[in-house]
């Protein structure tokens, strides 16, 4: 049996916003019957161009239904520019995490949102250059590349968990390996998250590692509590951040910064990191 969080169970048993918005401004359809999961997302904007209503219809497992429900809750009230920035990690984070084998459900949510926004803007859906890598599930190289970058994936198994690519006949495994190599370069496989002791990071490497750590370890749980954090600057070992959302007026924000953000960054980036808050 899968280890689903209570939040996943809740959104599966009591899904929010099921259905189709009438006269929708944007419609996004992703997945397919053949693949075993599919999602139709519809939304309507208000006069301020914010998402007034978002509804879903999903064919799929418990985590696919829960991810769709979470997605509609997340985007409600957002402008399209804000909605565009929603990642699959946000969806998974909102649900308190998903089993790794089920992360593709959160990716499907993000893709449906993108498709719906593109549909609203009248853009042709994904007519850019792409190659279908996984023929079983119809996953393109662009989709795989994006999932690799956004989630710091380093192994073929992870790519399968996040995109489903390679989960069928397995003929595309060499191609997936090649994409991984292309993204991360020949030598450097990233997200050996703990830097070996004594390793000297270049400034660029440090900035990247801080960003990655924030995106992967720090921001998703904060967002789940209604907060957020923005990276403002990095000067030497000092990382300047601004707290947003509920965190910005939370009396224990100092505690959050020192005990949580700083300790995570020290764990994954380096022991000398100091975190400072930039007040708005």
């Amino acid at each position: 049996m899968w280890e689903y969080t209570d939040k996943v169970k809740d959104h599966f048993l009591n899904p929010r916003n099921v259905g189709e918005v009438e006269n929708a401004d944007g419609v996004g359809e992703v997945g397919s019957l053949a693949c075993g999961d599919a999602l139709r997302l519809t939304f309507k904007l208000d006069e301020n161009k914010r998402i007034k209503e978002a509804k879903f219809k999903t064919f799929g497992c418990a985590s696919a239904i829960a991810s769709s429900s979470a997605l509609t809750e997340i985007v409600k009230g957002m402008t399209l520019e804000e909605a565009e920035k929603v990642t699959n990690q946000d969806i998974a984070g909102y649900l308190g995490g998903l089993p790794e084998e089920k992360m593709h459900c959160s990716v499907m949510g993000r893709e449906a949102l993108e498709a719906a926004i593109a549909n609203y803007r009248g853009e042709e859906q994904k007519k850019q250059e792409f190659e279908i890598v996984c023929k079983c599930f119809g996953i393109t190289d662009k989709e795989i590349e994006r999932a690799i970058r956004e989630n710091n994936l380093t192994t073929r198994e992870q790519v399968t968990h996040y995109t489903k690519a390679g989960g069928g006949c397995q003929a595309c495994h060499p191609k997936i390996e090649a994409i991984l190599e292309k993204v991360w370069g020949r030598e450097k496989k990233p997200a050996a998250p703990v830097p070996p002791p004594g390793r000297k990071l270049t400034n660029l490497q440090k900035i990247r590692l801080v960003e990655e750590t924030l995106q992967r370890e720090i921001i998703p749980p904060m967002r789940a509590d209604g907060g957020d954090l923005e990276l403002v600057d990095i000067d030497g070992n000092t990382v300047y951040v601004a707290l947003r959302g509920t965190c910005s007026f939370c009396p224990s924000s100092e505690f959050t910064l020192k005990k949580y953000v700083e300790s995570k960054l020290r764990e994954f980036v380096g022991p000398d990191i100091v975190v400072k808050e930039v007040k708005p």
Partner: protein, 407 residues
């Protein structure tokens, strides 16, 4: 909450009589059956009795019964033990719908240079025996074919197959894990050389299995060690479980009529009522040649894991051939081999009954399941379109629906 257990092809309840029979062997009767003293000797006699009881269930000779740790060990021992006895041959015939304990041994052998022929099945899950006849050649060392399918319950014509295989002088193994205890078997009149069974599928505990090896069959032991099991499987006997399996075999003989009478009737009622109450429901597998306890249904346009979890919420335990329950992303290899369309394969649910199920259990499922499927269909983007007769957009139907596994 009420628990309705309909997942007996996964595992069964240990019969209370079996538990009782086993208990002394965990405590006061702890001797090693190989010991020379009276204390171990009394245990050895009880093991001999258990062996006789298992033999009686199969109408075999007790010397043909080898106790193992599980069905998977029995399958591995049968296949690899036979191949070791025929080092000059390099071909194995099996089917596409085997349990992983055979299917993955096939993959293992292939990687080591064996030719492995996997016979296909038709839409009803049936073999084409001409395909088997054509596949046999001079290099064939072993034919291993499932007795009854764990997902659909479809029973293969094992004696007819055995006749074809034996006419060519080739050893014949069958994985009968799902068949033993549910349908009568008679080794005295059979062409089977080797047969696997597993205790926990017939109300004995987990961790005990049997490999039946017909007298005169070439066999190299898979577990090398002491002289236990006539030198065919080393290792000190799992005494309590062997005693338990002996008792379970005795009970299985007593309950054989009930399995094929009352349990079959319960299964048939469950199936009929669900087909009547839930539209777009299909039965997977040959309904005329099935285990009496198994029923595999597909509910179109919904996904199996969701059904399982909502049923679980109502205390109903079953299983699914859907991709999402396994983490493998593709639906069951059995349903795919049968060519069950994707619309149905993802929404497959297997119910498997036992003598412990009651009319009330079936009533509960009949009452709860229609609402569960309806609820999920209301969430599904395909159902409304389907009902309104709209075609599913090509995007949503799947980019490569024709694509099948190719390896």
């Amino acid at each position: 909450m009420r628990t309705v257990y309909l997942d007996n092809n996964a595992t069964t309840r240990v019969a209370p009589e079996v538990v009782e029979a086993m208990l002394p062997y965990f405590s006061e009767l702890y001797g090693n059956p190989s010991s020379m003293h009276f204390f171990g000797g009394q245990v050895a006699r009880k093991i001999a009795e258990a062996r006789e009881r298992v033999a009686a269930l199969l109408n075999a000779d007790p010397s043909e019964i080898v106790f193992t740790s599980c069905g998977t060990e029995s399958d591995n021992a049968a296949i690899r033990g036979t191949l070791e006895s025929y080092p000059e041959k390099n071909h194995v015939i099996t089917t596409r719908v085997e349990h992983p304990a055979v299917l993955n041994v096939g993959q293992y052998l292939r990687a080591r240079g064996y030719r492995v022929t996997e016979l296909g099945v038709d839409r009803m899950g049936r073999l084409d025996l001409d395909e088997l006849r054509d596949a046999i050649d001079e290099q064939t060392a072993l034919v291993t074919i499932l007795y009854a399918n764990n997902e659909t319950g479809v029973i293969f014509p094992i004696e007819e197959i055995g006749e074809i295989v034996k006419a060519r002088g080739i050893p014949f193994h069958t994985d009968a894990v799902q068949a033993v205890g549910k349908i009568p078997l008679d080794m005295a009149k059979s062409h089977i050389d080797l047969m696997s069974l597993s205790g926990h599928k017939l109300h004995a505990p987990k961790g005990i299995g049997v490999l039946y090896i017909r007298k005169g069959t070439k066999f190299s032991p898979f577990f090398i060690g002491g002289h236990q099991e006539g030198g065919r499987r080393g290792g000190t006997e799992n005494v309590p479980s062997i005693i338990g399996l002996g008792k379970a075999a005795e009970l299985a003989i007593e309950h054989m009529d009930e399995e094929n009478g009352r349990v079959r009737a319960l299964r048939d009622r469950l199936e009929k009522e669900l087909l009547d109450r839930i539209p777009n429901t299909l039965v997977n597998g040959d309904r005329d040649n099935r285990l009496p306890n198994t029923c595999s249904l597909s509910f179109e346009y919904v996904e199996g894991e969701s059904i399982l979890l909502l049923m679980s919420d109502q205390g109903i335990c079953a299983s699914s051939g859907s991709a999402c329950t396994s983490g493998s992303l593709e639906p069951s290899h059995v349903l795919r081999a049968m060519g069950v369309p994707f619309t149905a394969a993802h929404g497959s649910i297997r119910f498997s009954l036992s003598i412990y199920n009651t009319d009330e259990d079936i009533d509960w499922v009949i009452e709860k399941l229609p609402a569960i499927v309806e609820r999920l269909r209301d969430i599904s983007p395909f159902w409304k379109d389907y009902k309104e007769g709209k075609p599913i957009s090509s995007l949503m139907a799947g980019i490569h629906p024709e694509h099948t596994r190719h390896r």
